[in-house]
Chain length 486, copies 2
């Protein structure tokens, strides 16, 4: 390891500066909506100018002087600090407009946006100026873009929690040479992301949504975020719109590399992907169970039960967090299924957060193989994924990731109970923020929000969102003495 | 593997027959109490004669003919079926006496006894004839004896979930040559078990308990069981008696090999044991936190708060399940601490159930080392326990065990919610039976019981008790096709 003095701080500042400049420019994109709906747009303008110019100054002042070599260590610092710093600057429109005057609340809302969580402290969303709501949804979209490059390019190199699997073992960029260069890969996947954004916006528009609502909900969908412009989330929209959002949540929770293959006609390759099949089966099976019970026990009409079941299941598995029905009012066992789905997460390489489908699948497979290994202690029995053996080392890292996730979740529940929350709310808030979902159970359930959480609790949950979004290790490693030691 | 036809069924029948004979004899030991308190003892007499004579017939009929070679496969079958069959016969006194006329209830109560869980379906314990209650507590004592031989002798050989660690890496029988022969080791540890039984009985007698109560509560303590003869568990007994039980619960949750060393003056060896120190620190720290909060928030007198905190913490960590105070009435965060302690369990090599302290410790250590491994990807950084490196393979098995435990717990919660239980009761009943604790949260909390659980739920929870007690894999392996295949 290089020592602290060897750390390429200039390159770090340069990159974060560049990203702030981009953030500033994105802030300005909300101005037309501000002008159209409110006749003024000073909050976004001032915020954009401050963020953009500070970014530009940092970027330009370091551009010439900076040594271009960036190691893993700089990688960890850039990833974590980027999410923190863009969240800090991202609070400006909320604070300057007065929509969220309190800094803690503004930070919670912004990091919830950039981590594509969608947990909100707003009690009356509809009273917030449209331009500010547009920025709020835009944070999701920017966050989703960051996650794509993170999961296909950065995390596999850093070797976090078995994510190298994605690069090494699955039909992904490295293995199948989607494109040898990372930036090219990221750009191609961003192309798909933009394509989805355009198609969903058009479909929502043709369902009767305004351009503003269509864009905001598209941002929340393709990034698996969950911020809505309505207090009732998606519940008041038409069945057509709900089905469109189901489809795009599903797509956003899918590995984007698979979309690339699909668009190039390589259907066989996609169907051979075991994680994909497991993801689909899990949605269909839990969806069918919930549909059945809602139809027979609650006497809902079949189509409504089917739509509600599928919407909530897809929303929670993909960690989006949009809601069409308050699942806490369902029979007990149904919302407990929803709670368990909070520990699944989207596919690796999607914009979804959480543990990820592939890790879940590997753990189930390994658990059953452990029994076989007891019967044949001499034999080497590897876990196989999509027909290929996965190295013991990766399974080890996947298990370590899952365990750390469970430990942090349990610790988070305890911390939130010390903040005065009841058991279900403490458990729900920890699960829903760590998994980047948004709605949990208890007071932070589908019709609740995070407004009443004490200040210290909001900061702690913000930390959990960051932890979960950056695959735990990326953040935790910065807190070890060994990382900073010579 | 040998095929089904190669399985030494005769040897299996012979051993289980012998154990049934012993069980029958143990049933008869309750007769003096039956005669003294009720003037009749037919239920125990008939049960003992039936069990003992069936056992004797099985044993004797196979004794001559049986091939003495017993492999791992026979080991798995003997362990699991012994616990099931002695539980089946153990229901006889309850059914014949009419104390628990329902077979499901009687089986639940008996397997709860033999697995040293202590979960009860009895609503009014004090109305049950004393001789039957004596047998009920005796099932704990027999179960504890079985667990000692299981954990020091059988599980390490079978290689379950890192339990070989106990034999291979720790100051235990194999490594320090406590005694090369398994039967000798077991006998020495049984000697300590009997010694504890005698000492605790004497101490309880001198605290004013009757011989009957003293013996029953001793059985429940040294086996980390938890059946009491009182409806209010230990709450109505004097502080002296509560302290005595705290001490012996602590001792019963300790690795019995360490007691052997202590009795032989090898104090240094014991204190060097990291699992032991971690076990003590965990009790002291959580005990101190709970004492502090009960004193300041609830305004309890200090001694009472200290005693209640320590009693409940030691009772839950060691998986005993005796109660002096309803922890569900404590502030939220305190009973959530108690809930988390349900996932610790006693030390390996104790009579305690659950995950076990050593596994917890190894997982925490490995999680923090994973961060170091990311910083130094080339270095081999092993987990160290008591100063010695633990092989990656054992850490792998420990993680796989923990994961399977969490998966079964989550699945158990879901199953119990399908039985109609509310969330907390479903979660509490799964945690408390899988961990062999007894009281959980919700309706099965400290002042609740398992009477109202539906029949299917009682069978499912009985299965969880068996799973947890036999370290999951011992039971699950019998359910794989590979185990029975040629």
């Amino acid at each position: 390891m290089r020592s602290w003095s060897d750390l390429n701080i200039k390159a770090i500042i340069q990159i974060i500066g560049f990203l702030l400049l981009i953030e500033g420019l994105f802030m300005l994109t909300g101005m037309p909506f501000s002008l159209y709906y409110c006749g003024k747009c000073y909050a976004l303008l001032i915020s954009g100018l401050i963020t953009g110019s500070i970014g530009a100054i940092l970027w330009l002042s370091m551009r010439k002087r900076a040594d271009k070599t960036i190691g893993k260590r700089e990688g960890y610092i850039i990833v974590t600090f980027t999410w923190i710093i863009i969240s800090l600057f991202g609070t400006l429109p909320f604070i300057i407009s007065g929509a969220i005057p309190n800094f803690t609340d503004a930070f919670f809302e912004t990091i919830s946006g950039f981590t594509t969580t969608g947990a909100t402290i707003l009690i009356d969303i509809e009273s917030v100026p449209k331009g500010i709501l547009f920025w709020r949804s835009m944070t999701h979209w920017i966050g989703g873009m960051g996650i794509i490059v993170l999961s296909v390019a950065i995390l596999p190199i850093l070797g976090i929690g078995g994510m190298q699997l994605y690069a090494a073992e699955m039909p992904g960029p490295t293995k199948d040479k989607l494109h040898p260069r990372i930036t090219q890969t990221a750009k191609r996947l961003w192309g798909i992301y933009v394509l989805f954004t355009i198609v969903e916006t058009v479909l929502l528009l043709s369902g009767g949504m305004s351009l503003f609502d269509a864009l905001c909900h598209t941002f929340g969908t393709v990034a698996t975020g969950g911020f809505s412009t309505q207090n009732s989330s998606i519940a008041e929209f038409s069945p057509y719109i709900q089905y469109v959002i189901i489809v795009f949540m599903f797509l956003a929770g899918t590995n984007f590399t698979l979309h690339y293959f699909l668009l190039h006609g390589q259907f066989k390759k996609v169907w051979k992907n075991e994680e994909y099949r497991y993801y689909i089966y899990l949605i269909l099976i839990t969806g069918a169970i919930i549909t059945g019970i809602l139809t027979f026990l609650d006497n809902d009409p079949f189509e409504k039960a089917f739509r509600d079941a599928l919407f909530q299941v897809v929303s929670i598995i993909t960690t989006t967090g949009y809601i069409t029905d308050d699942y806490l009012l369902w029979p007990n066992m149904l919302w407990i299924i929803i709670l368990l789905l909070m520990f699944v997460g989207g596919m690796a390489g999607s914009t979804g957060g959480g543990i990820k489908v592939v890790r879940q699948l590997l753990l189930f497979k390994n658990s059953s193989l452990e029994l076989k290994r007891l019967i044949h202690p001499q034999a080497i029995i590897p876990v196989r994924l999509s027909g290929k053996a996965v190295s013991q080392d990766i399974i080890f890292k996947v298990m370590a990731f899952f365990l750390l996730y469970i430990i942090i979740f349990a610790f988070g529940t305890l911390v939130m109970s010390f903040m005065g929350l009841d058991f279900e709310s403490a458990l729900g808030s920890a699960a829903a923020t760590l998994g980047n979902i948004g709605p949990g159970i208890g007071m932070v359930g589908p019709v609740g929000n995070y407004a009443e959480i004490p200040v210290a609790g909001k900061w702690f949950l913000s930390f959990l969102m960051l932890l979960g979004r950056l695959e735990l290790f990326t953040v935790l490693i910065l807190m070890t003495a060994a990382f900073w030691k010579k």
